[in-house]
Symmetry: C2
Subunit: 136 residues, 2 copies
């Protein structure tokens, strides 16, 4: 039993690849199947792989895209939260919670009182950016 990846359903594969590349992921595989197209991307730090799937109208597994509750967010550690918020905005990310200092809601390791922000990506999935306090 070995985890391979987290798979997300996306509406525009190129747009999502661009967004996740900005986060440091590197495309390793892309292809088409009888039901749609997909890409796999690996992050060189963290040994973390995501798979993106797009199922076009007419695919046997197509459904109108519906944002749900189940995928809450991806968590990332960054050295400069503010800079990363600017970077993700420049590729279409929407700021949900602006950078702030203080105890983050769900710390990566307690006690954590660094800087944090939330930015949503192309399909509404939140990216949590956690880093050291400002100026440290």
């Amino acid at each position: 039993m070995r985890p391979l990846y987290t798979d997300l359903r996306v509406r525009n594969l190129d747009r999502s690849i661009r967004f996740y590349r900005t986060l440091g992921f590197r495309p390793t595989l892309r292809g088409r199947t009888s039901i749609g197209e997909f890409a796999q991307l690996e992050h060189p730090r963290g040994h973390f792989t995501i798979e993106l799937n797009r199922f076009p109208r007419g695919s046997s597994v197509y459904e109108p895209y519906r944002k749900g509750s189940e995928m809450d967010h991806f968590g990332f550690w960054v050295d400069d939260v503010d800079q990363w918020v600017r970077t993700l905005r420049s590729v279409g990310g929407k700021v949900k919670v602006a950078p702030y200092d203080g105890q983050v809601v769900v710390p990566p390791r307690p006690p954590f009182s660094g800087r944090a922000a939330y930015v949503s990506g192309p399909d509404g999935i939140w990216i949590e950016l956690m880093g050291p306090p400002r100026g440290r």
Copy 2:
């Protein structure tokens, strides 16, 4: 920039911890915040961490649970697909696609023509089990 985890919103934290423990994840952190409770679990193979969040009614971020499109599935490699389907059923998993041989929809590495199955966990998230052909 370093990926930390995939965070899922769940409705019953103990139930989900039990399910993901069965998949080999080990709890590393559990706690409460002002808005809910959470757990982190790491998989010893794959350096893969998930975070589970439960936000009770009354929490500032509570919403009625709504299954959406965005989190398609988790992909796992296993040595015995049929055995893992039985194991996950024994802890409440529901078989979505029974074990079958042949080309899987989205291969971990092409060409892949092993055995595959899909089982859904407590909150409807699919677990894709991929393994070698039967009898190999």
